[in-house]
């Protein structure tokens, strides 16, 4: 009985989650869908055709989104690991404040930060450039990355390291064989999340990018904001598909790369 009720509830939740997505898919394929029809008047692929084959905007946006997203994620992970580790070591008053500051971008509205940033970036000639956008994207991304790596480090047991020390493994060996494999899930998660957050940025991109840098998000918004909504639907789905694809690719690469050392012969076994 309990089994059934818990299953039903989960199904309801799943339905709630999935229905809007299914709906997006139908909308992206429909011509007209007036009241009171439960399905569109007719199905067409013309919108998909338009976006994927007839206009060049999509591919430009895709290219930029990926370059910016992946760069942001890589730099983000690179910075999150040492900062996360640092925050886990002996706590001090300053550290708590630092943690707070790192946390701020998550909770602040983009408009506040963006405006101030624009002036600073302009002076340093960063506006309208990919690098500027990447740096700007780091702001909403790093807090999540740092948080994830911090939690990873919190769960890390020093005892493993000590074992390595006892077995006379060098610092580098300890890093590669003990620490990184342990951090791997955290790194993957941090990379995932930061990539996604970067992809979803809108106001930050159009402001700091001065409109020159077009990402999928900046192209998608005008359509969903009162433009052609079928095309907006197409973009939304493509956005999600690309996000998934990127996550899978990244996971595959990272797993392969971080797994390698453990598989090779190690004198720790």
């Amino acid at each position: 009985m309990r089994k059934l009720s818990s299953q039903i509830i989960v199904v309801i939740f799943i339905g709630f989650i999935i229905i809007p997505i299914v709906f997006l898919a139908i909308w992206s394929l429909s011509t007209r869908w007036p009241w009171p029809l439960l399905y569109p008047e007719s199905i067409t692929i013309k919108w998909w055709n338009q976006v994927l084959f007839e206009s060049k905007g999509f591919y430009l946006g895709l290219k930029n989104t990926l370059i910016i997203g992946i760069s942001t994620a890589i730099v983000g992970v690179g910075l999150s690991i040492p900062i996360g580790k640092y925050l886990v070591q002996k706590k001090s008053y300053i550290k708590s404040i630092l943690e707070g500051v790192f946390f701020l971008p998550i909770i602040l509205s983009p408009l506040t930060i963006t405006l101030g940033l624009y002036q600073t970036f302009s002076k340093w000639n960063l506006t309208g450039s990919m690098i500027g956008v990447i740096i700007a994207h780091l702001i909403p991304c790093l807090p999540y990355g740092i948080r994830i790596m911090k939690i990873s480090f919190e769960h890390f047991n020093e005892k493993y390291l000590e074992q390595g020390k006892m077995l006379k493994a060098s610092k580098r060996q300890r890093q590669i064989y003990i620490i990184f494999p342990f951090l791997r899930p955290g790194i993957i998660a941090a990379f995932h999340l930061m990539l996604l957050i970067s992809m979803s940025q809108y106001i930050l991109t159009i402001f700091i990018g001065s409109g020159k840098i077009q990402t999928l998000a900046s192209q998608m918004y005008p359509y969903l904001n009162g433009g052609n909504m079928s095309i907006g639907g197409v973009y939304s789905l493509l956005f999600a598909l690309i996000a998934i694809l990127m996550l899978l690719i990244v996971e595959y690469i990272l797993k392969k790369y971080l797994d390698r050392p453990v598989k090779s012969k190690s004198n720790l076994k």
């Binding site: 989650i17 809007p20 009171p36 405006l115 940033l117 996604l196």
Partner: protein, 283 residues
């Protein structure tokens, strides 16, 4: 050697973040004082609109957070129950389906909720087809309504997956390490959840809920598309004032924005304080 490199990276990263974040906030504050100075704030506080907007933002933020808290706990509980009966791989697939809304930006959520919940939307049409209503206007107002129902549903669609994203890893980790221990003590599934799993999640829950609150309080897209003309939430109010208002009134818009920022920071500090106190008590 690598320790110094590590520290360098930390310092660079830290300073970099601090400079960017703080300069953004400080500049935001300075801009709010341009063109009008402190009058911007004075006018803001004198008008009724500011308070109505603030109240709406708080209301939506609190309701969303409470609902998200309850519902995501419910969901993670049932996920836990399921994970005891089914292989973990399947549960992971289930979890991945549940967190899929994270892949879509908020504007997509606004669009979907609108098209589903409008009186002429899909749900309305289903009700019409089933004979529950005989005309469009009989369908309840779920979007652009007084209570912000559509807005909250939209938030739920995005934030419950986010909470599950944060809580699920704890679930797997706990099961990994502690399940056998629980078995030794002959704990029932329910007991195990409440006495072991849930406490371990407290950290993630509180962090997650705080993020949810901060977001639903200060977000823009959902209230803009699914809200009413008046009152607007503080974020929508300040954005519209800024983007579509006359140049001269920009200062007031930025002031509203800054107040929003301040409130979030204040609540954050308070939350942090209580959180640390709790942690201390638990030792």
């Amino acid at each position: 050697m690598s320790k110094i490199k590590e520290n360098k990276m930390t310092y660079i990263g830290t300073i970099f973040m601090i400079v960017l974040i703080l300069s953004g906030i400080v500049k935001g504050f300075m801009e709010s004082l341009k063109r009008g100075g402190w009058n911007n704030y004075r006018n803001l506080f004198r008008g009724q609109e500011f308070y109505d907007s603030l109240f709406l933002s708080l209301k939506l933020g609190i309701i969303t957070t409470v609902l998200v808290g309850l519902l995501s706990l419910l969901l993670i509980y049932f996920l836990y129950m399921i994970s005891n009966k089914y292989p973990i791989k399947r549960v992971r697939i289930l979890k991945n389906i549940i967190i899929s809304p994270i892949l879509f930006p908020y504007i997509v959520a606004a669009f979907c909720m609108g098209m589903l919940l409008m009186q002429s939307g899909i749900l309305g049409r289903i009700a019409y087809r089933l004979g529950i209503i005989s005309q469009m206007s009989e369908f309840p107002q779920l979007v652009n309504d007084k209570y912000g129902i559509g807005i909250v549903i939209g938030y739920l669609w995005k934030t419950i997956p986010f909470m599950i994203l944060m809580l699920y890893p704890v679930l797997e980790k706990v099961k990994d390490k502690w399940y056998d221990l629980g078995n030794i003590y002959n704990a029932t599934e329910k007991q195990f959840f409440f006495y072991v799993v849930f406490p371990m999640m407290k950290n993630a829950i509180m962090t997650g809920l705080f993020i949810v609150f901060a977001y639903s309080f200060s977000a823009f897209e959902l209230p803009y598309f699914l809200g009413q003309t008046y009152p607007k939430t503080l974020s929508v109010y300040s954005y519209l004032r800024y983007a579509k208002g006359p140049f001269e009134e920009r200062g007031e818009a930025l002031a509203a924005n800054f107040i929003l920022t301040l409130i979030v920071i204040m609540i954050g500090t308070v939350a942090c304080y209580f959180y640390n106190k709790l942690k201390q008590r638990e030792g």
